[in-house]
């Protein structure tokens, strides 16, 4: 098991390195020179050259990359155009976004997996039709469209739930959930449908296998067969999908945040792009991609626990 964990961790490192090179190059591809824009329109060529030296832009690309990576590893994410440290900007905006992403995940797992299990264990019944209907609606309609619809119905017409803002979960859980409910549904509905479909396929396939027949033959109740025999193996592919969706959920959170006017990484990134604040965009991307890679690695490790056969490969 230890060898398996170490091997998987080592496989994650090159992916992170490649991704960081890609993000680094994106910034270097920017037309124009950060030094020129920093120096302002009236600066003399000598002054621009001075700033170039200070920023280390005269060094070769590999040298610049290694230095940048070193700064990242020490937690130095650079400074925004307005002179605020990016690590501070992220520290302020990330909790809101992560809160939304986690809420969307909890919602999707609580809805998608039970629905998928019921549909897979009882194909061509009401459960199955419910899942199909839900899938058609949630996969076809993008999250921000769902968000606007919910905002109009529950926020404006019925005035049941607040239409904007965020309250921290730790300061006031009740109000926090009120603010989270609609965005979490908008963001999680698509994920719930995806999870439901994969769970259904996976469970339906496993229900046809011999060891399930054996379990039934020895007289176990239907529910016990599904829960203690089928589910454990059926969840392996579902864990992959859950982890793979992290990227989509984080990206979706950026948009959904704007629909519900929640302060968070969405607002940070959108403003940074509009102001062409490259350092902020770059660092935010690095953080998001790192989360994505780390979650996928953890999923890889999780299979090892769920299905011992994978460990030996």
């Amino acid at each position: 098991m230890v060898a398996f964990v170490v091997r998987r961790l080592l496989q994650g490192v090159p992916v992170l390195l490649l991704a960081s090179i890609a993000v680094f190059l994106v910034l270097r591809l920017v037309p124009g020179d950060p030094a020129t824009s920093l120096a302002g329109p009236d600066a003399t060529p000598q002054r621009v050259e001075e700033i170039r030296g200070q920023l280390g832009l005269n060094d070769s690309l590999p040298v610049q990359y290694v230095r940048w990576l070193g700064q990242l590893l020490r937690g130095d994410l650079g400074t925004s155009i307005r002179g605020i440290e990016v690590s501070r900007l992220l520290k302020d905006s990330m909790p809101s976004t992560l809160e939304l992403a986690v809420a969307a995940y909890i919602f999707a797992l609580m809805l998608g997996i039970p629905l998928g299990v019921m549909a897979g264990a009882h194909p061509r019944t009401g459960w199955d039709w419910t899942l199909s209907g839900f899938t058609l609606i949630s996969i076809g309609i993008p999250s921000f469209l769902t968000g606007i619809l919910l905002l109009w119905l529950f926020g404006v017409q019925l005035s049941w739930l607040p239409t904007s803002g965020r309250v921290s979960f730790f300061s006031n859980p009740g109000q926090s959930l009120e603010h989270l409910l609609l965005p979490a549904y908008a963001l999680g509905a698509n994920l719930a449908a995806v999870l439901g479909r994969y769970t259904r396929t996976s469970v339906a396939e496993i229900m046809g296998q011999d060891y399930i027949r054996t379990a039934r033959a020895k007289g176990l109740a239907g529910r016990q067969v599904v829960v203690s025999h089928a589910l454990r193996n059926a969840l392996v592919p579902v864990v992959t999908i859950t982890a793979l969706q992290v990227g989509a959920v984080l990206a979706g959170a950026v948009v959904v945040e704007q629909v519900f006017t929640r302060p968070g990484m969405g607002r940070l990134v959108v403003e940074a792009i509009q102001n062409r604040d490259y350092v902020v965009v770059q660092s935010t991307l690095v953080v998001l991609v790192t989360i994505f890679v780390v979650v996928n690695l953890s999923a890889d490790l999780a299979y090892g626990f769920l299905d011992p056969r994978i460990r030996r490969r």
Partner: protein
């Protein structure tokens, strides 16, 4: 089913008689249109495309004109303004049609470009194999590590916001997925007998890849094209919604929804009509992808 069997059996022209390069594509289109789901999808998309392209003839008012013919702000839908007017007295019917046109142009343009590059890269990489294939695929893997929206945002940071840059960002985002799929397709096709036959006849690799193999390898990729256009419409709408797309007052489905968001209290129609148009378009594209998949994959066809 009886209606189908009572038809006279269609005698297929022999492979000699068919047009050489269109045969597979033609048969695919025919199968899509025979499928009720496919027919509905194709008709729906046709209606929307015609409405979008003919926007300047269909709409009575100009999309960006304010206070046209003394119209008021927030007029609810009426005969004169079927979709109502917005907070600047603009006719929403015109804005929705022109917005649909912009969204379709961006998405279809971006997917056409992205898929051409992606498919070419994937075909060549898969056909060549070896270190060339290995390097290309590692680069593609690194690109795939970025969620699409974030990759598009990175590109918009470099290029600046705007309609054309939006299309470029979406096109780039489409390259890796198409490269992966077409490479897989190529790995299956390149070991077929007809490829060895062409090689024996002395055909060069480019001719074999783009003339012989692509005729068989591209139709299955059409499903991905429909899905990619669907994805491009969602992505471009999301980016326009965030204010990273076209410059105002130019409309698109995403920016119309962004406008509508702050006026939900006063004018539900500002959100409802663009949203419904977009939902219908996405539904049709999803159905089309299903129909193409059924038409091109023998396994899916057998189930019907």
């Amino acid at each position: 089913m009886t209606a189908l069997t009572s038809e006279p059996v269609v005698v297929r022209e022999s492979w000699r008689g068919r047009k050489r390069h269109e045969s597979m594509l033609f048969a695919t289109v025919e199968r899509i249109l025979r499928n009720p789901v496919g027919l509905v999808a194709v008709s729906g998309i046709l209606v929307l495309v015609v409405a979008a392209l003919g926007a300047s003839f269909i709409a009575k008012y100009s999309p960006n004109d304010q206070a046209y013919h003394g119209a008021a702000r927030y007029l609810s839908p009426s005969f004169d303004h079927p979709f109502g007017t917005d907070y600047l007295r603009r006719d929403l019917f015109a804005r929705t049609l022109f917005g649909l046109r912009n969204s379709l142009l961006i998405s279809i343009g971006a997917v056409t470009f992205g898929s051409s590059v992606g498919i070419s890269v994937g075909f060549l990489s898969g056909y060549a194999g070896g270190w060339f294939d290995a390097i290309i695929m590692r680069v593609i893997d690194a690109l795939l590590a970025f969620p699409g929206l974030l990759a598009a945002m990175a590109i918009l940071t470099i290029l600046g916001t705007g309609l054309v840059n939006l299309a470029i960002a979406i096109a780039v985002f489409n390259i890796p997925a198409f490269a992966r799929l077409s490479r897989a397709q190529m790995l299956v096709e390149k070991n077929r007998d007809y490829v060895f036959a062409s090689q024996a006849l002395g055909a060069g690799p480019l001719r074999i890849v783009f003339r012989h193999i692509s005729a068989n390898a591209i139709p299955p990729l059409l499903t991905q094209v429909a899905l990619a256009i669907n994805g491009a419409i969602v992505l471009s709408a999301a980016l326009s919604f965030l204010g990273l797309g076209e410059k105002p007052p130019e409309p698109s489905l995403g920016s119309l929804l962004n406008d509508a968001k702050s006026h939900l209290r006063d004018a539900w129609w500002m959100a409802a009509f663009p949203a419904a148009t977009m939902a219908f378009l996405l539904l049709c594209l999803n159905f089309l992808a299903d129909a193409i998949n059924e038409a091109t994959s023998p396994y899916a066809r057998r189930k019907v």
